[in-house]
């Protein structure tokens, strides 16, 4: 006699699913883990409401800052109403907005672009060159720049998205470098070459000019940040955003259910580029000029570092990363020039007087030991130990999916 056993119940369920197509079965098998994730999301619903409330209050506070006399010694150079502090805060918000536009690519769609600076730089230089060359007011000039960026992003996206993963990173890098080199060459004396370009102010509104008006630029930067945040949120939760997220997790599965990932990725790529260029335009106004670095691979890498420091996949992470990086860079640069550092022996002085050395090292440490970056760490701190390990694994997964 033979011993065998059959398990009718456990078999019945998959068999029922089996009446659909093979692709369906694959999706069905994935449902259990995904459901767990959703449950977590529901539990976090209350917290999310809190986050939005805090966000609203934060926006009001930010909007009022130029009218207040607050001091943050060690972070801001002076009280909040002074131009120096407002300039730094505006820069923080612009970098946060630029990081958000990059988040749309990396965090939402899993596109690792090394050429995002091209669009930021196109905003900076596009507006700068147009204002310099044509006698038109600011808003039409901005519109024209946006148009150019839309075309540019379509062209690069259409070519670059023919490959995925690492090759995509290399291709976007190559295109951005072409832009970087072009600007550095100073074609037709338009870009000012390596020296950069000074903002032509003839057609600009009075309110955006002069140190005394820094707070107007500050408010403009705040508006840009809010608009970028709104657009990113909207895209992320739109149908396209859901498909993009599905593409990030499993492109094959998306193809199986008959959606063309290419077009969705192109859409996200173009929107990300347009947002970056909008930030770039305000950056030009704030800095009163442009330098080729805004188009360089270094700048893309800066955005990447911001997003990863803050936490890949999280909008708040991108914002926090952008602000944190900008402030830290500023403080480290000040530190590098301080007397305390100059007096140290070489072995300490040299590394400490290089802000990028410290930032690069910090970045490596975060990638190695802090999956999910700052927001991930904060999130984990609020969880139990078991949940914590799961969360870390999920955050690792968020990055792995980016391939």
């Amino acid at each position: 006699m033979t011993t065998s056993k059959t398990d009718p119940q456990s078999e019945a369920q998959p068999a029922a699913a089996g009446s659909a197509s093979a692709g369906e079965t694959a999706v069905g098998a994935g449902q259990r883990p995904r459901k767990a994730k959703h449950d977590g999301g529901a539990a976090a619903g209350g917290r999310s409401l809190l986050t939005w409330g805090a966000g609203g209050a934060g926006v009001v506070l930010l909007a009022l800052l130029p009218l207040l006399n607050l001091s943050l010694p060690g972070v801001l150079p002076g009280p909040t109403y002074t131009p120096g502090s407002l300039q730094l805060l505006a820069m923080c918000m612009l970098m946060a907005a630029a990081a958000l536009s990059y988040h749309l690519l990396l965090g939402v769609t899993g596109l690792l672009s090394f050429g995002h600076a091209l669009y930021f730089g196109a905003g900076v230089y596009g507006l700068g060159v147009i204002l310099d060359t044509f006698d038109i007011p600011l808003l039409p000039a901005m519109g024209l720049t946006l148009l150019l960026v839309i075309v540019l992003a379509h062209v690069v996206g259409a070519v670059g998205l023919r490959v995925t993963g690492i090759p995509f990173a290399m291709v976007t890098l190559a295109f951005a470098e072409a832009g970087h080199v072009l600007v550095g060459r100073n074609p037709g004396q338009a870009t000012g070459g390596e020296e950069g370009l000074t903002l032509a102010t003839e057609n600009l509104p009075e309110a955006l000019l002069g140190v005394a008006n820094t707070r107007n630029l500050y408010w403009l930067a705040l508006i840009v940040l809010l608009v970028v945040f709104a657009v990113v949120t909207w895209v992320q939760y739109s149908r396209a955003g859901h498909v993009a997220a599905a593409v990030r997790e499993n492109e094959l599965r998306v193809r199986v259910i008959g959606v063309q990932p290419y077009l969705v990725k192109l859409l996200v790529f173009v929107v990300g580029g347009v947002l970056a260029s909008a930030v770039g335009m305000v950056y030009l106004l704030l800095q009163s000029g442009a330098v080729p670095r805004s188009l360089s691979a270094d700048f893309t890498i800066t955005l990447l570092v911001m997003v990863v420091l803050g936490g890949v996949g999280s909008r708040w992470g991108a914002i926090i990363g952008g602000v944190f990086y900008t402030l830290l860079d500023q403080r480290l640069t000040a530190l590098a020039q301080s007397e305390a550092i100059a007096g140290l022996p070489d072995i300490l002085r040299i590394p400490l007087s290089e802000p990028l050395f410290i930032l690069g090292t910090l970045f490596i440490l975060v990638v190695l030991f802090l999956p999910g970056g700052i927001t991930g760490a904060v999130h984990r701190a609020t969880l139990s130990r078991g949940q914590r390990r799961q969360a870390a694994a999920r955050q690792r997964q968020a990055l792995e999916n980016a391939e």
């Binding site: 011993t3 093979a22 079965t25």
Partner: protein, 314 residues
């Protein structure tokens, strides 16, 4: 004692449901094996994910120390994934014991070096390496059994300096098998070795496996049920990433039309010729519709088949 030990939880359930005692099991295949031999591979609660998707779910079974055990199931039920999880090619949790030693925390290359030969689905020969290089790469032992391989696959000797990618499917399968047979192994894991091969070659592969099984136990994934009939002693059947049936007699399972229809979606005994083709097709979709109802057919199962509600899911 059963030649094919069940995981303890299952045994408990078997008792509770009043199923026939396993101790009663006596079977021909077991006779030569030595009744007390411990299974070469024991899997308990094995779970694995691919791309965040669970593809192997709480799988438990064991592979006896001799003979061929078939791992059966329709396309996409997780047979390949189970094998990959055993040797750590995909990340897994649960316990896997090879010859009494836990291997579920070990990296793949160490598991292989403990004496596991792996013949992957789709052969996976290195297409830009020559046949000789493919074989040399696989040599682990101090004195690899080159002679045996030359004797089994004389064809490969002639093609030693040919790029493996330019070989026919059957020849590539020979390379893949040879890579596993070069070394002294405790266990072979062989995944669909006859897939896509001409009937004559299928028979050659089957004979090779039969010969190999004289010295080493094999866990064999095979869609060609005639080959399973010919070779396998026991069988484990998967569905939806779970074990739904285990038996110490693959023949008896295959003879049970109702079960094979339900679990494999084919008539196992519907002519030995076409059967092979049916097993290989994308799937026999026609059979699917009835499966849900067919699931109630347990009453028709023979007395020696135990049902086990333990694996049921919420």
């Amino acid at each position: 004692m059963s030649q094919h030990p069940q995981p303890s939880a299952d045994a408990a359930h078997a008792g509770a449901t009043g199923a026939p005692a396993q101790a009663a099991a006596v079977q021909p295949a077991a006779a030569q094996a030595g009744a007390h031999a411990r299974p070469v591979l024991e899997i308990a609660g094995l779970t694995a994910h691919i791309a965040g998707q669970q593809v192997v779910e709480d799988v438990s079974f064991s592979v006896p120390a001799t003979g061929i055990t078939a791992l059966l199931g329709r396309n996409g039920v997780g047979k390949t994934s189970t094998i990959k999880a055993v040797i750590g090619l995909i990340s897994r949790t649960g316990s896997v014991t090879l010859d009494g030693e836990r291997i579920d925390k070990e990296p793949t290359f160490k598991i292989i070096r403990r004496g596991v030969g792996y013949v992957p689905e789709d052969r996976e020969v290195f297409s830009k390496l020559t046949v000789a290089e493919n074989l040399r790469l696989a040599e682990r032992d101090a004195s690899p059994r080159r002679q045996l391989v030359e004797e089994l696959f004389p064809d490969l000797l002639k093609r030693a300096s040919q790029m493996a990618g330019t070989l026919s499917g059957g020849q590539q399968q020979m390379v893949s098998l040879a890579r596993a047979l070069l070394n002294e192994n405790k266990l072979l894991l062989i995944d669909e070795p006859t897939k896509g091969l001409a009937p004559k070659i299928v028979q050659e592969v089957a004979e090779t496996l039969e010969r190999a099984a004289e010295t080493v136990p094999i866990l064999l994934v095979e869609q060609n049920l005639q080959v399973v009939r010919q070779l396998a002693a026991g069988a484990v059947v998967l569905s939806g990433g779970r074990v739904v049936h285990t038996t110490a007699s693959a023949l008896e399972f295959l003879d049970n039309e109702d079960l094979t229809q339900r679990l494999l979606g084919v008539h196992a005994d519907a002519g030995h010729g076409e059967d092979a083709a049916a097993g290989h097709g994308e799937d026999t979709d026609a059979g699917h519709g009835e499966n849900a109802e067919a699931g109630h057919g347990e009453a028709a199962a023979p007395a020696n088949t135990q049902t086990n509600p333990n694996g049921a899911q919420k």
